[in-house]
């Protein structure tokens, strides 16, 4: 049998093979790509929030790419580089190396202030911009790092706006709330909040009749619920984390504590759909002042649909992460470059007003977005509705809450 594979045939075949293999890369090269980092705690104790944030970033990149990508860069598609901070600051800082090596133009993250503080500091060495999705600690923006951009509000702004909104709600209801009980975790988050409330609530004509600190973790809230009941407070203002918040709400319901409202500030569970789903009865009418999107925007509705289709919870983590990718995309569009320094300059000059968040045009002052604001949400049925301020509201606030029929 004659061997049909002569040298010419082999060369021809090899040429065809090389061309075939190379073709996809030639095609790929026709679509420019710009890499954006997502640094979130995908494992560890913050894994739920981090995973939600990563999902939000993914939805945003998909939406931007579907709309034609970054037009000023020839329709460049956003490619996310997702890295795990493992809920540990030193890992978050090391993960910045991975992002730099992947040649990202900027990155978003990192759910908790402790992680973001470490990562932004590491990123400063590379002149790489970090757009904070969540980082409420004020130290995030007081270090003078030029690469830090916090898109969402910090704890000071959240507290002052929450109290202002409470005042307006109470005035609208004829000042029915005259007394308040405060239940707070005894760490700085809860303790500082309680201190501010003790100073500010009397100025609104609301007398504090009971202040109850508790450690974290804390499991039995029966006595705390009974103390709140005995105080006959009109309103309860809790400052605690998700598990304690949930257990407290259950205990209040079990002890049939009659309140005109439960009003949280950066509430651990009050803006979490998981709490609504798993504790629907006790969650009704709970109000929170927290990060939330503008539900009236078409893009917000589209995001809600995509999140539902993916079988995920629609939490504020998804929303803020989505919005930070929008901010980065806008900076890319204006700067028309993925150069790190140009990204920092473009972000610093950002006046973006098309994000899904209920903010005005972005204005970064020392890295802090001064147009960011929290909003009031209220749990109604199986949904979390935005109730205040009115221009973004998806439902009317129910304040005070209806008296329960026993």
């Amino acid at each position: 049998m004659k061997n049909t594979f002569n040298r010419r045939a082999i060369l021809q075949g090899s040429g065809a093979l090389v061309a075939g293999v190379a073709a996809p890369s030639v095609l790929r090269a026709q679509t420019p790509i710009v890499k954006v980092g997502v640094l979130e705690p995908l494992t560890g104790n913050l894994a739920y929030n981090g995973t939600q944030c990563a999902a939000g970033a993914k939805f945003a990149a998909e939406a931007i790419n579907a709309a034609g990508g970054i037009k000023s860069m020839g329709g460049a598609k956003i490619e996310l580089v997702v890295v795990d901070a493992q809920s540990r600051p030193e890992v978050a800082a090391s993960a910045v190396d991975t992002l730099v090596e992947a040649n990202v133009c900027a990155f978003t993250g990192a759910t908790a202030s402790a992680l973001g503080l470490a990562s932004s500091q590491a990123a400063a060495k590379y002149n790489l911009a970090q757009v904070f999705s969540i980082g409420t600690a004020e130290t995030v923006v007081t270090r003078g790092l030029p690469n830090v951009f916090r898109f969402t509000p910090g704890v000071n702004k959240c507290t002052s706006i929450a109290l202002e909104n409470l005042k307006l709600l109470n005035q609208g209801a004829g000042n029915v709330v005259k007394t308040a009980a405060i239940v707070h975790e005894d760490g700085p988050f809860g303790s500082n909040m309680a201190k501010i409330l003790a100073e500010e609530l009397p100025k609104q004509g609301i007398q504090i009749v009971e202040t109850i600190p508790h450690p974290t973790p804390h499991r039995d809230f029966s006595n705390i619920a009974l103390r709140v009941k005995a105080s006959k407070a009109d309103i309860l203002i809790p400052s605690n984390y998700i598990n304690e918040y949930t257990l407290m709400a259950r205990a209040l319901n079990q002890q049939r504590v009659e309140l005109k409202a439960i009003y949280s500030i950066l509430g651990g569970a009050a803006s979490n759909i998981k709490f609504v789903r798993e504790n629907n009865e006790v969650a009704q009418y709970v109000m929170d002042c927290n990060h939330w999107y503008d539900p009236t925007k078409a893009e917000s509705k589209a995001l809600a649909a995509r999140v539902a289709a993916a079988g995920l919870d629609l939490t504020y983590d998804v929303m803020v992460s989505y919005a930070t990718i929008q901010v980065i995309a806008d900076a890319l569009e204006r700067g028309a470059s993925a150069d790190r320094q140009k990204m920092i300059e473009a972000l610093a000059a950002s006046t973006f007003d098309k994000s899904i968040m209920p903010y005005g045009p972005t204005k970064f002052v020392n890295g802090d977005n001064t147009s960011a604001q929290p909003v009031n949400t209220q749990i109604r049925g199986d949904k979390i509705e935005l109730v205040f301020p009115k221009q973004y509201a998806s439902a009317e606030a129910v304040f005070p809450v209806p008296v329960k029929k026993n």
């Binding site: 995908l42 494992t43 894994a47 795990d84 540990r88 600051p89 030193e90 890992v91 800082a93 090391s94 910045v96 190396d97 991975t98 730099v100 090596e101 202030s113 402790a114 503080l117 470490a118 500091q121 590491a122 060495k125 600690a137 130290t139 270090r143 003078g144 790092l145 005894d186 760490g187 700085p188 988050f189 303790s191 450690p215 974290t216």
Partner: protein, 325 residues
């Protein structure tokens, strides 16, 4: 630091080659990763003094690590003390905490699992205290002001950070070697082997154990301070969390408890394994830990004497020393 076999020489050579190779790696990931590994190595060397040489296994070395970090942070943040004095303060605080825990536990004759549980309890109590008091920054933790420069012990250039850490790890390994081959080290090893017999021979076991805890605390405090100076931020979970205690003990156990090179080899090996599994499974966060755990269990099962003990089997310089390894 005497090697007993060609296997051990090869192991040390590979570790040195890796550590030197980091300078020439094209990717910055390796240096960042190695910096973290060296900080953990210091904590592991701290554990090795008590757990390895003295057989006083602690489950709560985070108590020493965290105390060093917090002492330095408080001195710098609340009292404006220079970072170098903060370093001294952190080391002293770590040593004092070690002596305190040891003094209290050994005063009541706690040993074995009881001692391990007491150290764990101390670490937990300190974690809760640190997260509760305003003085320690509460749940928000403490943050150092960014002041780059050697004067404030804040080095920005990573090759210099890495070089500095290599020097510190080398120094602590050298001190470990000195301790191991000193009279004090011999007392400590005697206590590990048979405390009653050591006492019968006239060794003041209580004093030796407390001193060992103090030395261990100084090393642990040093590791905590260097972590603080590197990341400029600590909170109660980061430095007093159980993860710190586990990392401090697992490196020496895998590498070879009671040896000079064991903590470094074990920590580097485990971190490389973790990084490797992460690279192999980039899109499955968390799954790398499963793989990591399986390999860890296998290592514990098949390398009871750690890497150093395993390497001693290959090309022993003489049979007696191999059997001693």
């Amino acid at each position: 630091m005497k090697f007993q076999s060609w296997g051990q020489c090869a192991l040390a050579f590979f570790a040195i080659a890796y550590l030197a190779g980091v300078y020439f790696a094209s990717s910055p990931i390796w240096m960042g990763f190695s910096i973290n590994a060296l900080i953990v190595t210091l904590a592991a060397l701290s554990w090795n003094i008590t757990g390895g040489l003295g057989g006083l296994s602690s489950f709560g070395h985070a108590a020493l690590y965290g105390t060093g970090a917090y002492a330095s942070a408080i001195l710098q943040v609340k009292y404006g003390v220079n970072a170098w004095f903060g370093l001294g303060g952190g080391i002293a605080a770590g040593a004092a905490m070690g002596a305190f825990i040891g003094g209290l536990a050994f005063r009541y004759g706690l040993k074995g699992s009881y001692f391990a549980l007491v150290t764990l309890a101390f670490a937990e109590v300190l974690r809760i205290c640190a997260s509760s008091f305003e003085w320690t920054g509460g749940g928000s933790g403490l943050q150092l002001k960014l002041m780059p420069g050697l004067a404030q012990l804040q080095i920005i250039e990573r090759p210099w950070i890495y070089t500095g850490l290599l020097a510190v790890v080398g120094l602590v390994m050298f001190l470990t070697g000195l301790i191991k081959h000193s009279r004090f080290g011999a007392y400590l090893i005697a206590i590990r082997e048979n405390e009653d017999a050591a006492e019968a021979l006239g060794i003041n076991t209580y004093k030796i154990k407390v001193q060992a805890m103090a030395i261990s605390g100084a090393f642990g405090g040093l590791a905590g301070v260097l972590y603080l100076q590197l990341w400029l931020f600590i909170d109660s979970t980061v430095v007093y969390g159980s993860a710190v205690s586990v990392e401090a003990l697992i490196g020496p156990i895998i590498g070879g408890a009671g040896t000079v090179w064991g903590p470094l080899l074990g920590t580097l090996g485990l971190h490389l394994l973790g990084e490797g599994t992460k690279s192999l499974l980039p899109n499955s966060p968390g799954l790398n830990f499963v793989f990591y755990a399986i390999v860890l269990i296998c290592a514990l099962r098949f390398l009871p004497q750690g890497f150093v003990g395993f390497a001693a089997r290959f090309g022993a310089f003489n049979k007696k020393e191999r059997d001693d390894a």
